[in-house]
Structure formats: structure tokens, C-alpha cells
Symmetry: C2
Subunit: 214 residues, 2 copies
DNA sequence: CGCATTTTTGACCGATTGGACAAACGTTAG
DNA sequence: CTAACGTTTGTCCAATCGGTCAAAAATGCG
């Protein structure tokens, strides 16, 4: 039951090991993000990686080890946009930039978003420590930055945590609920332009809300 | 591979059948929402329903039949808040009411929200027809209502579809990503008050956005 | 080359899964 | 009582799962 920590100490790795582990992780991202952890099978991942199951298990101890390694790498990518939120920049421009970056990630890395969503939905059984650790620490830090902006009267006073949640929710929605979004918008409005439409809408929402001008 | 349509034609049902099917569906909601479709086992559902596996399979043909029946019922509950959005009411009050109702559903029926999210995440393999049918039709109708409000200058002009998406995303987030929300907020801010905090934040966001008063 | 190490594979295993089935049990109407 | 029908269960099965293992194949190296 102990967490399979393949990256615990820096093991010596041959060139082939490094390569193949990369191939496996890419294949696992594809499979896990489509079927979830329990829904995915080692055979599927092995096939997607172009190797036999025992061969795959030569590079990773277990299915869980693959998943843990994948989630660790993912979290870095995942937190990057928030890390860029800069204390000294213009508040509204910083927030707009953050929303734009998150929306771009939903567009360009939907598999990563779904993998993450799947894990959280199941109660984060394998990554809770990372949530309570790195992720919470970063959010606390940035919430504090945002609170500073509010105290200085540079943006409206509100709850910075729920502000961050709302940005996560609205942007990741376009990756996690993609099939629903496309089905509802239909072929015309649901085509390539939907991310631009979303960006325009969110910009207006976070800027002025919905109250009519006047 | 044909959809198990237990409710296709109105089969005769004894009192016991009606009762037990209800018990099974409640148990299935609990189990499916926690582990997803593939992660859940018939044994788990049977145990949660207080009966043996063969007994459960006497009332439902298969695991998939349970899931389909569950999703059909769920969709009704799920669309109810949007159905209440009233053309003739005050636009901002109507939208605020809709957000409130959706947030209450996230608070009071998180299992239903997670079950739905899980299904969409996997690509909606079992409920795509309902998404493209009932759900899309209702959204189209209400988007048209909202567009009417915009044309009349009663709320700001923007994309009504993405407005609805953003309300879904921000409210359901508190059910689907609950463990993350609670972990980030910590025991103090993540307690019972988090839904009221969220309601206050969202009300302000949808009303005025984040621009400082000036 | 020859030897050691790394990589790959086929065969196999125990556990779990969704589901089938017939027999047993309970209930009710005649 | 008893025949008919609805309900429940124990047992079983084939398929699939994650993972092991020993042996073969490939590779690196002096």
C-alpha cells in the first residue's frame, strides 16, 4: 500500500530506460485520461506504447507507479500558469492573462485536464498529499497577492480563493466537459472558434459582470 | 451492445419490484458516483442495497441497465433549475436565482453531480443521445430567452451559451472538485460556510465583475 | 571475439469481474 | 391443500485483470 515512488532517489537510468519510460508515460496519459485509473488496463497502455505488458512492467513496477509518476509531472505543468501571476503587474491584466493561459491549456492539453479531473472526482486517492502540499501552498500565496490588490483598491473586494476556483472551473470546463460543450453548441458554433468565444465571454464577465451598461 | 432500455415499454411491476428497484438505484448512485462506472462492481451495489448479486440481477438485467436508468432519472433533476429560468421575470434576478439553485444542488446532491461529471468526462458513452436531445434543446431555448434580454438591453450583450456554461462550471465545481476545494480552503474556511462564501462571490462576479468601483 | 548486463517475450498465476442457472423459498388465489 | 407465480440464493463459469518468472534475445564492452 506504500506509494510507489519511482522518482524517490535518483536511480541510474540507461538511455533506453529514459526513452521508454517517456513513451510509456505518453501512452498512459492517453489511456488514463480516456478511461480513468480503474478503467484503464496495463495491456491498453502497453499496446499504445508499442510494447508487451511484461516489457512495460520492466520499466514501471505497477500500474499505480505509472499513474503516480504521471501525476507528479502533471502537477508542475498544471500549476505553471498560476505561478506566473505577478504581484507587481497590473491586477486586471494579470488576471486576464491568467485566464487566457488556463484557457489555452484547456485547449492544448485536454488530456492532462481530464486526467486531473478524474483523479479529483474519485476523491484524489493518489494525489491528496500534493493537493494539500504544493497546490495549497501556491494558492495561499497567490490568494494573498490578490488580497493585496483588493486592499489597495485596485480590484473589487471579494473572496480571492473563490475567485481562483471560478477561474479553474470556467476554463477547465472546456477540456473536461468538451463533449457536452460541443454537443450543445452544435457543429456550427462548436467548431474551432469556441475557445475564442469563451475567451471573449470570460474577459467580459470578469471585467464588468452582466449588468447592462448605463 | 444495444442500449438496455428497461423503461422502454411500461412493463407490469409488482409492488416489491418497484420498491427494490428504487433501493438498488439509490445504492447504485452511491457506488457509481464514488468509483465511476467501470470502477464500480455489481457486488458493491448489491451490498449497499442489502441484497445478493443474483438477486440484484433479477431486478436489473445488467450493470449497464442500472446505469442507464439512473442517468435517465438524473437528467430530469439535473435540468430542473434551468427549466425554471423565466422569460418574464427580471433578468438579473432570474440569473441570480438560477445560480443559487445550481449551487444548492451542488451542496445537496453532490453524488448526482459527480455521477454526471464522470459520465461526461469519459466522453458520455452512455448518455450522448440525451445530451444531444433533451439537454441541447433546453439550452437552445433558454439561450434564446437570454438573447432576448440582451437585445432589450436588460443585461449586457454577450454569448448566452458560454454564460450558461460558466454557471454550470462554477457551481458544479463545488460538488465535483469538493475534496480539492476543502483541501485548499483548509479546515477553517473550508467548513460549512464555503457554499455561502461561494454564493456571495458568484453574485458579485456575475453582477459587476472585478473592476474596482470608481 | 566472449562475457556480462540489459531488454524483451511467452507462458503462467491467482484474484476479481459480470453474469447465468437451477434449485429453493415465499406468497397468494382458488 | 396445492398449483402458480414471484423472489432469493448458492454455485458456477468464462473473461479479464494486475503481476510474476524464467528463459531468450539484444546490447554494451573489454
Amino acid at each position: 500500500m506504500d506509494a510507489a515512488t519511482d522518482a524517490a532517489r535518483p536511480k541510474r537510468r540507461t538511455r533506453i530506460q529514459t526513452q521508454k519510460r517517456e513513451v510509456i508515460l505518453e501512452a498512459a496519459l492517453e489511456v488514463f485520461s480516456q478511461h480513468g485509473f480503474r478503467g484503464a488496463t496495463i495491456d491498453q497502455i502497453a499496446e499504445a506504447a508499442g510494447m508487451s505488458k511484461p516489457n512495460l512492467l520492466y520499466y514501471f513496477r505497477s500500474k499505480e507507479a505509472i499513474h503516480v509518476t504521471l501525476m507528479q509531472r502533471l502537477l508542475e505543468t498544471w500549476l505553471a500558469p498560476l505561478k506566473e501571476l505577478d504581484d507587481v503587474g497590473d491586477p486586471m491584466a494579470e488576471l486576464r492573462g491568467y485566464i487566457r493561459r488556463k484557457l489555452e491549456m484547456a485547449r492544448d492539453y485536454p488530456r492532462e485536464s481530464r486526467l486531473f479531473a478524474n483523479e479529483i472526482l474519485q476523491g484524489a486517492p493518489r494525489i491528496m498529499p500534493m493537493i494539500e502540499g504544493e497546490l495549497k501552498a501556491l494558492v495561499d500565496e497567490k490568494a494573498s497577492v490578490i488580497r493585496g490588490w483588493m486592499a489597495a483598491g485596485r480590484i473589487a473586494r471579494t473572496d480571492p480563493y473563490h475567485l481562483i476556483f471560478s477561474i479553474w472551473a470556467t476554463t477547465q470546463h472546456y477540456a473536461d466537459f468538451d463533449v457536452q460543450v460541443r454537443a450543445v453548441l452544435g457543429p456550427r458554433r462548436g467548431g474551432d472558434g469556441r475557445f475564442e468565444d469563451a475567451a471573449r465571454f470570460l474577459e467580459q464577465l470578469y471585467l464588468d459582470g452582466l449588468k447592462p451598461k448605463g
